[in-house]
């Protein structure tokens, strides 16, 4: 490749850098930046601990505090609750996507990336791929806590893996919403605040902790149509046995809708901000 022929600066063009961005370089750049996210997870044991601790508290507290009152038997409630807590943990974890994107913008890390001859979308792709790893870790952690207190899902490995994949698909959809919020929010902290306001009703007004049948009429209507309810119902059916077809279909439709709305919005906000 003749590189030294650049007119003007007498510039030595960076030898390795391709003349233009191809889809292949985009994927390569994205994977490198996903690696960055994973390294950051590894480098921050406190965060990993948080990923474990929070679900641990939720599972243990809910099972033992509410279990008997809810179902007369904490073991029955444990089995009911586990899919719900997995879903809830992952839904909350998607907030991290927007938070870290916002942090990267604020710290000028995105400026550095954008001054490099790499694909423009690579930092966004990298952040989302890296976060999928984080969500997967979350799923495994909550499951481990469940196993520790005797959760033995009847759906077996296949059911558990199916439920795990489904929640990851849902998280993938939801993280575009988080990315969008992250790119329009002024500071990482406001992402956090906004997210909390959204995530609590989204997870509690669902079938995650209590069956919607036991809720007052108006709330029941909300919960029945909450995408998280479809997700949790699917996971319950897959893990504990039951008819999964309908809730899984609904969950996938919701994931597609959320992605269709928020993927373009996130990309738009990303381009505007960076």
């Amino acid at each position: 490749m003749s590189t030294a022929t650049t007119e003007g600066a007498g510039a030595r063009t960076r030898a390795q850098v391709p003349e233009r961005i191809t889809p292949l370089t985009t994927i390569g750049n994205g994977l490198q930046l996903a690696r960055r996210s994973v390294l950051k997870i590894k480098a921050n044991p406190a965060e990993v601990l948080g990923l474990v601790l929070q679900p641990f508290m939720f599972v243990v507290l809910f099972v033992f505090v509410f279990g008997e009152a809810m179902m007369g038997d904490w073991r029955a409630y444990r089995d009911f609750l586990m899919p719900g807590v997995i879903a809830q943990s992952v839904v909350f974890a998607t907030l991290g996507t927007g938070f870290s994107l916002s942090e990267d913008v604020e710290k000028g890390v995105f400026d550095r990336f954008r001054s490099l001859p790499i694909a423009r979308s690579a930092p966004l792709i990298g952040a989302i791929l890296g976060d999928l790893v984080r969500y997967a870790i979350t799923v495994v952690m909550v499951l481990l806590v469940g196993l520790l207190i005797g959760f033995r899902p009847e759906g077996g490995a296949v059911g558990v893996i199916g439920a795990g994949l489904l929640v990851l698909v849902f998280a993938f959809a939801l993280c575009w919403m988080s990315a969008f919020v992250g790119m329009i929010a002024r500071t990482p902290m406001s992402v956090q605040a906004f997210g909390m306001i959204l995530m609590f009703p989204l997870t509690f007004a669902s079938s995650a902790f209590v069956s919607p049948d036991d809720m007052p009429g108006w709330l029941r209507a909300v919960a029945a149509n909450n995408p998280v309810t479809h997700l949790v119902d699917s996971m319950r059916a897959l893990m504990l046995g039951g008819d999964a077809a309908s809730p899984v279909a609904w969950t996938l439709v919701w994931a597609a809708v959320i992605t269709a709305v928020f993927f373009p919005l996130a990309v738009w906000a990303y381009r505007r901000r960076t």
């Binding site: 007498g10 510039a11 850098v17 370089t25 890390v109 400026d111 990336f113 954008r114 490099l116």
Partner: protein
């Protein structure tokens, strides 16, 4: 000699407010162009446009012969950017930070390692290579950030206030690095709030104020316009400052205004030879001197000389140094 950077009539508005109002500048290949200006004068906005991070509303700029708006990828292949705040990952180690950039630039694993080792050594970070960046001092973080912008051997380097907030030792170290890069043939665009820094490093200077170029030339030309040195006088009795001001005015030929409450007068002087004359006349009048000194002009004083008014959003003044 060709120009590495050529910008004409750059305009940038933020929500109706003009951050840049027609900035022209050129940087000759292999030299250091200093962009001097107080906070909010448009330095960072200029750098961001030249680094393809921001589109100008009007005007155009070429870097290495490529248009920053139409050919951003080609521009990015030439430049390195060190922003005003260190853009390194605090959770990662110094090595991890640099290897990541090298890999992004398409270097192989071994080459990335080698380049990283080389840069860490050059910036005195070898001992800290495998520590997370959050354990680094401010100066170390800046150096790593600078190293990160050099991974791809850019032929053009943008440094946005690289020494703001650094202690004098780290500042000197960074100056040395910049000089070394220039020796290697790198063109540097450096923004600063410090006249001394511009004087030390820049071959050419552009002075920005409110998004406009208010002066340009070599540091020497600029200083001679602003007065090479500043004579500062404090009388033992503040009540006599007015009288002392009249004497200084008579000797230097520069107008001196003393407002009530002023404790000192400061005047640009072209020639240090006026000092004995000032002393003699003060003595003749029987005025007791509190303090009398000659020092380099501060950025504020340069601004005063160039614009007839003080820099508005000034931060710390350049410390007086003989």
């Amino acid at each position: 000699m060709t120009d590495a950077i050529r910008a004409e009539g750059l305009v940038k508005q933020f929500k109706g407010k003009r951050a840049l109002d027609g900035v022209d500048l050129t940087a000759r290949t292999g030299t250091v162009l200093g962009v001097l200006g107080p906070n909010g004068s448009g330095k960072t906005t200029t750098v961001r446009i030249l680094a393809t991070l921001l589109r100008p509303d009007a005007g155009h700029a070429e870097v290495g012969g490529f248009d920053v708006v139409r050919e951003p990828h080609q521009v990015r292949r030439l430049i390195g950017l060190t922003g005003q705040y260190a853009a390194v990952d605090n959770e990662l180690t110094g090595t991890q930070n640099l290897v990541m950039i090298a890999r992004l630039l398409g270097m192989g694993r071994a080459e990335s390692r080698a380049r990283t080792t080389e840069l860490l050594e050059r910036f005195g970070l070898t001992d800290a290579a495998d520590r997370p960046v959050k354990t680094y001092s401010g100066g170390m973080r800046r150096r790593l950030d600078l190293a990160a912008s050099l991974v791809g051997r850019p032929s053009l380097l943008y440094l946005d206030e690289p020494t703001t907030g650094l202690d004098p030792h780290s500042r000197n170290g960074l100056w040395g690095v910049v000089r070394g890069l220039v020796d290697d043939g790198v063109t540097v665009l450096l923004t600063t709030q410090y006249l001394e820094e511009a004087d030390q490093l820049a071959d050419d200077l552009v002075v920005l104020d409110h998004g406009r170029v208010i002066s340009r030339g070599t540091p020497e030309e600029l200083k001679s316009r602003a007065g090479d040195q500043v004579l500062e006088l404090r009388t033992a009795d503040p009540g006599q400052l007015h009288l002392a001001g009249k004497i200084v005015e008579a000797v230097t030929g520069s107008p001196v205004e003393v407002a009530p409450g002023d404790l000192a007068v400061a005047v640009p002087v072209a020639d240090a030879g006026v000092l004995p004359e000032v002393v003699r006349r003060l003595d003749d009048q029987g005025l007791a001197v509190g303090e009398l000194s000659l020092r380099r002009p501060s950025l504020d004083e340069v601004f005063l000389a160039l614009t007839g008014r003080a820099a508005e959003e000034h931060t710390e003044n350049e410390e007086a140094r003989a």
